[in-house]
């Protein structure tokens, strides 16, 4: 590249980064500013009076009586449990799909994928009434059941594609060596497909860490998750940006750290989602 072209390229990249990162940066910076500085007519790119006070007040649930600590704990528990269950249930299904010669089974991932592209509102009312009848409204279990359902399509699609690329000879020789069918899956196939399994786990975790609509519809207090709590801060006091920014950051920080550390799998999942067709 000529120097001029090079300069142009980096200018474009710079603008692009400004576009993608500025909103997140602005959210982060303001969460460390005291309220009066947030409303300053000369906003600064760095906090002039750095403070963690907003975070303390959010975690105390100040002003609106939202138990943010409880919401944080609910989010962690639900997201982690659904991730483990999703990888297990989706993983064995994906294995079955990748090895079966049955046409019905073969078409399942596409059905699941289509399902994941339909509005959640199409399912919400019966799910709500069912959970109400089972006394599972506002419980972690109820939310987990629903989340598990909506977590399966992507990993099933992704893992079954990957499993197909693993030669059956490995499994056959393991069987001859005395492994039973389940040992073959968990000791041979899953380890060989570690990248696909990790990617699926990250995607399920992220999806359920962030999920809002079902959490809002199916929980009210005890099982409330962070996105709902954040929205409650915003709804209760629309101009309390100190609380809104800090509560938002509490949901964003752990996830961004995890995804940045595991970026290889995230990018692999986003680019290799089996959509090469």
């Amino acid at each position: 590249m000529s120097p001029i072209k090079r300069l142009l390229f980096f200018a474009v990249v710079l603008f692009y980064l400004l576009y993608t990162l500025f909103p997140i940066y602005w959210l982060a910076v303001n969460s460390f500013k005291p309220a009066r500085e947030i409303f300053s007519l000369n906003p600064s790119l760095f906090p002039q009076n750095f403070t963690l006070d907003n975070y303390v007040r959010v975690l105390r649930g100040e002003g609106i009586g939202v138990n943010f600590m409880l919401a944080l704990r609910n989010t962690v528990v639900v997201a982690v449990v659904v991730t483990l269950l999703g990888v297990f249930v989706g993983g064995i299904a994906a294995y079955g799909i990748s090895r079966s010669k049955n046409r019905l089974i073969y078409g399942l991932p596409l059905v699941f994928l289509l399902f994941s592209l339909t509005p959640p509102q199409t399912y919400a009312v019966p799910i709500f009434t069912t959970l109400r009848a089972l006394h599972l409204l506002d419980t972690q279990i109820g939310l987990m059941l629903v989340y598990l359902t909506f977590s399966l399509p992507l990993p099933i699609w992704f893992m079954s594609q990957y499993f197909k690329s693993i030669p059956r000879e490995f499994e056959e020789s393991a069987r001859i060596d005395g492994c039973n069918r389940f040992q073959v899956i968990f000791k041979i196939v899953f380890p060989l497909a570690a990248p696909a399994v990790s990617t699926s786990a990250i995607f399920i975790f992220m999806q359920n860490w962030n999920e809002f609509f079902f959490a809002m519809t199916l929980t009210s207090r005890r099982a409330m998750t962070m996105p709902v709590a954040i929205m409650n801060f915003q709804d209760a006091r629309a101009m309390a940006w100190d609380l809104s920014t800090a509560s938002s950051m509490l949901a964003v920080i752990p996830l961004v750290i995890i995804l940045t550390v595991l970026q290889r799998y995230v990018i692999q999942g986003l680019t290799g989602g089996g959509l090469k067709g």
Binding site: G96, R99, L148, I185, S248, V266, I267, K276
Partner: protein, 309 residues
């Protein structure tokens, strides 16, 4: 021996069934079905059953079968027609912007330069944060009292007074589109990146030797070869934009001002869970589903027609 004869017939049947089950050999295909079974059961319970139940609700009033009268009633309602129109504007607006930024992003990410991994991480961050956080962040930036966008525009003398972007009926839909395209462009960007990485390098080298400019190569090599990927990616994003619009609408505008930014899915939620009118809510939700299928189907049709040519 005598005891055995006195066993009741039903017990005999049960014992017989157990023996029969033990005799069934676990063939490979049966084992695969067994592995798929948990997913299938979950899907039947929380996917298929609710779906059929919603269809059922949408043609009933109370427990009375009413045919399509719920649909007639919602299609005669001003706000539903508005939501229908808004959904189209929202989806096409958002996906169009996403496509342009996503393509630019994919081209940047596919170039070889130092710091590429950092740019790729930055590219997926908008997609990774909760949608409600994205909504709240844009509301914060576009706020008329001390919002950064208004402050900057005032300083540059582009406006004389702060504009309430989110609450103003002229701009509310645009803020929604801007926020959603920022949140969702990474999906298109990475799908297109995956497509770009599949393209054969030799073609570009040959074109370069023949003296083609980068712009020419983009329009005559990249775009035609990526057609399939582009259609599939647009189909996915269109259906997602219809289906998952609720979070961004709820966190940014709540469908307001009035119902000017109400889309079908947010209206379905409003009918079902604010007015607690499940039947009408179900009908609106089915309308949203059909809309997503129709738009997605259009891309699929174009794709197949393109493939046959």
């Amino acid at each position: 021996m005598a005891r055995k004869q006195r066993l009741s017939p039903s017990l005999c049947k049960t014992v017989g069934a157990v023996v029969a089950i033990r005799k069934i050999r676990l063939t490979d295909e049966r084992f695969y079905w067994l592995l798929v079974l948990p997913s299938l059961l979950i899907f039947l319970g929380f996917g298929v059953y609710p779906f059929i139940s919603t269809l059922y609700l949408s043609i009933h009033s109370g427990s009375q079968f009413v045919g399509f009268s719920n649909y007639r009633s919602i299609l005669g309602t001003q706000v539903v027609l508005l939501a229908l129109k808004n959904t189209v504007i929202f989806v096409f607006g958002s996906v169009a912007i996403e496509f342009i930024i996503g393509f630019l992003s994919a081209l940047i990410m596919s170039a070889a330069f130092r710091g590429r991994t950092a740019v790729r991480i930055a590219s997926f961050l908008p997609w990774a944060i909760p949608i409600v956080v994205a909504g709240i962040t844009f509301k914060f930036m576009l706020n008329d009292v001390g919002g950064i966008v208004n402050t900057l525009l005032l300083k540059m003398h582009l406006i004389d007074f702060p504009v309430a972007w989110v609450a103003d009926k002229r701009y509310a839909m645009w803020t929604l589109i801007v926020a959603d395209s920022w949140k969702s462009f990474p999906i298109l960007a990475f799908l297109l990146l995956a497509g770009l990485q599949q393209l054969p390098r030799e073609l570009y080298e040959a074109a370069r030797i023949d003296g083609a400019t980068s712009i020419k190569m983009f329009f005559f090599i990249t775009l035609p070869l990526l057609k399939r990927v582009i259609f599939v990616a647009l189909m996915i994003r269109t259906m997602q934009a219809v289906a998952y619009a609720f979070d961004i609408v709820y966190s940014l505008t709540k469908g307001g001002p009035g119902d000017l930014t109400q889309v079908l899915v947010s209206l379905a939620q409003k009918y079902s869970f604010q007015f607690m009118h499940f039947e009408l809510g179900a009908a609106v939700a089915v309308l949203a589903l059909l809309m997503g299928l129709a738009l997605g189907g259009t891309f699929l049709f174009l794709l197949f027609r393109g493939a046959r040519e």
